[in-house]
C-alpha cells in the first residue's frame, strides 16, 4: 500500500517534471500546429540546447548559469532559421512524409555532430554549493525550482505571443488560409521561418534547463521528443496551455505509475496514452488552437 506522504511527494515530483516535459513539447506543438510539420529534429535540437549550455557554462566557457540559458535560447533563433531553410521550406505543403524525412535527416546531422564531438558518455552540469528546499521529505534544488518557474512563465509568454500580438495574428491567419494571408500582405515565408525559429529556440531553452538538472547524452533529447508526441497529441496542436497540461499529465502518469509498476516500464504508459488518445480522439483532449 502506498502511503499518503509518498503519494503526495510523487505527485509533486510528477508536477515539476511534467512542467519541463510540457516546455520540451511546446516547440514541437507550435511548429506542428502552425505549419503542419512534425519536426523530427526536435529531439536533436533539445540535445543541442543541452550541449550548448555545457559549452557555455562548463567548458570551454565558464559563464554564469543564467547567461548560459539565455544565450542558448537566443542562439536557437538563427539556428532555427537555418534549419527552416535547409529542411522545411522546400517541402512545405507537400506530402507529410517529406517533412517527416527532411527533419529527421536534419536531426541526424545535429546528432551526428554532437556524437562526433562528445561521444556517447553522459555529462552533467555541476552546480556547486546548491541550496535546496524540502517538500514532503524530498529535496529540490533552487535551480530545479527556477527551471520549473521559467518553464511556466515561458509557456504563458508564448500564449500571449500567439493570442495577443501581430505575430500571433499573422500566424493564425496562415493557419487558416495561407494564400489568403499572403494576399492580405502577410509575409508568409518570414512568419513561417520565425515560427520555426521560435520552436527551435523553445527546444533549446528546454534542453538548456534540463541540462542543469539531469545528466544528458546526444540521445537524451530524443526521449523528450518521443514524450513530446504524447504531450502534443494530448494537448492539441499549437496550444501552449495544452502543452503544459499535457506535460503535467504525462509527468504525473509516469511518476505515479512508477509506484505500482517497475519504473523502467513507465515510458510504456506514456506511449499507451499516446496511441489510446490518437485512436479515440485524434484532435487532442484540449482541442486545437
Amino acid at each position: 500500500m502506498v502511503s499518503p506522504e509518498l503519494l503526495g511527494a510523487t505527485v509533486i515530483n510528477g508536477l515539476l517534471l511534467g512542467v519541463l516535459y510540457g516546455l520540451a513539447a511546446l516547440g514541437l506543438s507550435l511548429i506542428w500546429g502552425i505549419m503542419k510539420v512534425v519536426n523530427l529534429s526536435h529531439g536533436a535540437t533539445i540535445s543541442l540546447g543541452m550541449f550548448l549550455t555545457y559549452m557555455l557554462v562548463v567548458t570551454p566557457m565558464k559563464l554564469p548559469l543564467w547567461a548560459g540559458v539565455v544565450l542558448a535560447t537566443l542562439l536557437g533563433v538563427p539556428l532555427g532559421i537555418l534549419f527552416y531553410t535547409a529542411a522545411v521550406h522546400k517541402v512545405l505543403g507537400g506530402p507529410e512524409l517529406s517533412s517527416l524525412l527532411t527533419t529527421f535527416g536534419l536531426g541526424l546531422v545535429v546528432r551526428g555532430l554532437l556524437e562526433e564531438k562528445y561521444g556517447g558518455a553522459a555529462r552533467t552540469i555541476y552546480t556547486p554549493g546548491e541550496k535546496t528546499v524540502r517538500i514532503l521529505g524530498i529535496s529540490y534544488s533552487y535551480v530545479q525550482l527556477a527551471a520549473v518557474a521559467i518553464a511556466v512563465a515561458t509557456t504563458l509568454a508564448v500564449y500571449v505571443l500567439v493570442y495577443r500580438t501581430w505575430f500571433g495574428r499573422a500566424v493564425r491567419a496562415i493557419i487558416m488560409d495561407k494564400e489568403a494571408a499572403a494576399l492580405m500582405g502577410v509575409d508568409t515565408t518570414r512568419i513561417l521561418a520565425l515560427s520555426f525559429a521560435l520552436g527551435a529556440s523553445l527546444a533549446m531553452l528546454s534542453g538548456s534547463l534540463i541540462s542543469l538538472i539531469y545528466a544528458f547524452t546526444p540521445l537524451t533529447g530524443l526521449t523528450f521528443e518521443l514524450y513530446s508526441f504524447v504531450i502534443v497529441v494530448l494537448g492539441g496542436l499549437g496550444s501552449p496551455v495544452g502543452s503544459l497540461l499535457g506535460g503535467v499529465i504525462v509527468g504525473l502518469a509516469e511518476q505515479v505509475s512508477a509506484l505500482y509498476i517497475p519504473v523502467a516500464l513507465s515510458p510504456m504508459v506514456a506511449f499507451i496514452i499516446l496511441v489510446a488518445v490518437l485512436a479515440l480522439r485524434p484532435t487532442g483532449i484540449f482541442g486545437g488552437m
Binding site: W32, K36, V38, A86, A87, K90, V91, G94, P95, E96, L97, S98, L100, L101, T102, F104, G105, L106, G107, L108, V109, V110, R111, G112, L113, E115, E116, L226, F229, V230, V233, P262, A264, L265, P267, M268, F271, I272, L274, V275, L278, A279, P282
Partner: protein
C-alpha cells in the same frame, strides 16, 4: 484469359525479369562463397543489403502502394526476430519452423495494431506507429522471461549439429542463413510484384491516391489496408528471424531501432514509392552508399546520411524510377 493467369503471366515483364535476375545473383554469390571463401566478403555485404531490402519491400506495400507512412515498421522486424529466437533457444525448434511462426506473428501483430492505428491518417498514423514501436521495445527491455535488456543469445549447442553444403556448426549457420535470406527476399519480391499486378494492388493504389474516392468507388478500404498492413509485416518479420539467427543474438534496442524503418522508407523513396524496380534499386543503392560512408567516414556517417536524406527528399521526391515513370508515361509498362 482469367485475371489470375494474366497476373502470373506478367513475370515476363522486364522489371520482373530484372528482379529474378537479381535473386539469381544473390543465390550465385552464396554458392560461390561455398567454393571460394574469397566471396565471403561479398556475401556478407549482400546479406546486410538484403535485410534492408526486405524492410523496404514490406514498406513498399503499406507505404509505397497504400500510402500509409509506417514509421515504426521495424516493430515487425523486431517481433519476427524475438519470436524466432525464443522458439530456437527456449523450445529448441528448427529455424524453418521458427521463421514460419515469426512471419505469422508479424502478420498477427499487424492485424492487432492495424485495428488501432489504421483509422488514423497522415502524420498521426506515422506518430502512432512510432509510439507503438517504442511501447513494444520498452516491453521487451523489461520482460525478463525473454532476457529483458540483455536480449536472447543463442547457445552454441543449438547450432552445433547443423550441417549445410559441407559446412558444420557456426560456419554452416552463416551459409544457411544467407541462403535463407536470399529465399526470403525472393518471396518478398514475388509478393510485391504480384500484389502490384493484381486487382488488389490497383485497389491499394486507389487508396493511396484518394481513400474517400476509393471507398466510394467500391473498394473495401478498411479490409484492404488491414490486409496490406499484414502482408507488409511479413518480409521484415522473416528477415528479422533470419538476421537474429545469423547473429546468434537479439537485443531490444537494436531489434526495434527506428533507424531501420527510416532507412527502409528512404530506400523506397529513393527508387520510387509503389514501384517494384524502384524499391530494389533504392534499397541496394542505399545499402551500398551506406557501406561506403561507414567505412570511409566512420565518424561523420550520421551527418552525411542526414544530408543525403534531405537532398533526396528535397530534390528527387518521386525517386529515380518514379521520376522516369512520371515524365515518360509510355515507359510505365516496362518500368514497374
Amino acid at each position: 484469359m482469367g485475371r489470375l493467369a494474366e497476373t502470373l503471366a506478367t513475370v515476363k515483364n522486364p522489371s520482373a525479369l530484372a528482379g529474378l535476375g537479381l535473386a539469381a545473383l544473390f543465390y550465385l554469390v552464396g554458392l560461390l562463397a561455398v567454393r571460394d571463401p574469397g566471396y565471403a566478403y561479398y556475401r556478407e555485404t549482400i546479406a546486410t543489403a538484403l535485410v534492408l531490402l526486405n524492410m523496404a519491400l514490406g514498406l513498399n506495400i503499406i507505404l509505397g502502394m497504400t500510402g500509409y507512412v509506417s514509421f515504426g515498421h521495424v516493430v515487425f522486424f523486431g517481433i519476427g526476430g524475438y519470436v524466432a529466437m525464443a522458439l530456437l533457444e527456449y523450445r529448441g525448434w528448427n529455424i524453418y519452423v521458427a521463421m514460419l511462426v515469426a512471419a505469422a506473428a508479424g502478420a498477427a501483430l499487424a492485424l492487432v495494431l492495424g485495428t488501432i492505428v489504421l483509422r488514423l491518417r497522415g502524420a498521426y498514423f506515422a506518430i502512432a506507429t512510432i509510439g507503438l514501436n517504442e511501447a513494444i521495445r520498452v516491453f521487451f527491455e523489461n520482460y525478463q522471461p525473454l532476457g529483458g535488456a540483455n536480449g536472447i543469445e543463442l547457445s552454441v549447442s543449438r547450432v552445433a549439429n547443423l550441417r549445410f553444403m559441407g559446412y558444420q556448426g557456426l560456419a554452416a549457420k552463416l551459409h544457411l542463413s544467407y541462403m535463407l535470406l536470399a529465399t526470403v527476399t525472393l518471396v518478398a519480391m514475388a509478393m510485391n510484384w504480384f500484389i502490384l499486378k493484381s486487382r488488389f494492388g490497383l485497389g491499394l493504389l486507389a487508396i493511396r491516391e484518394d481513400e474517400d474516392a476509393a471507398e466510394s468507388m467500391g473498394v473495401d478500404t478498411w479490409r484492404y489496408k488491414t490486409l496490406a498492413y499484414m502482408l507488409s509485416a511479413i518480409p521484415p518479420a522473416l528477415a528479422g528471424a533470419v538476421f537474429a539467427w545469423k547473429n546468434g543474438s537479439i537485443y531490444p534496442h537494436t531489434a526495434f531501432s527506428l533507424t531501420l524503418s527510416i532507412e527502409g522508407i528512404i530506400a523506397v523513396m529513393l527508387g520510387g514509392a509503389g514501384t517494384f524496380l524502384g524499391t530494389l534499386l533504392g534499397a541496394l543503392t542505399y545499402s551500398g552508399v551506406k557501406t561506403y560512408l561507414l567505412t570511409s567516414f566512420p565518424h561523420l556517417h550520421l551527418v552525411l546520411f542526414g544530408i543525403a536524406i534531405m537532398a533526396i527528399v528535397e530534390f528527387l521526391p518521386e525517386g529515380v524510377v518514379g521520376w522516369i515513370r512520371i515524365r515518360y508515361t509510355h515507359l510505365r509498362r516496362i518500368l514497374e
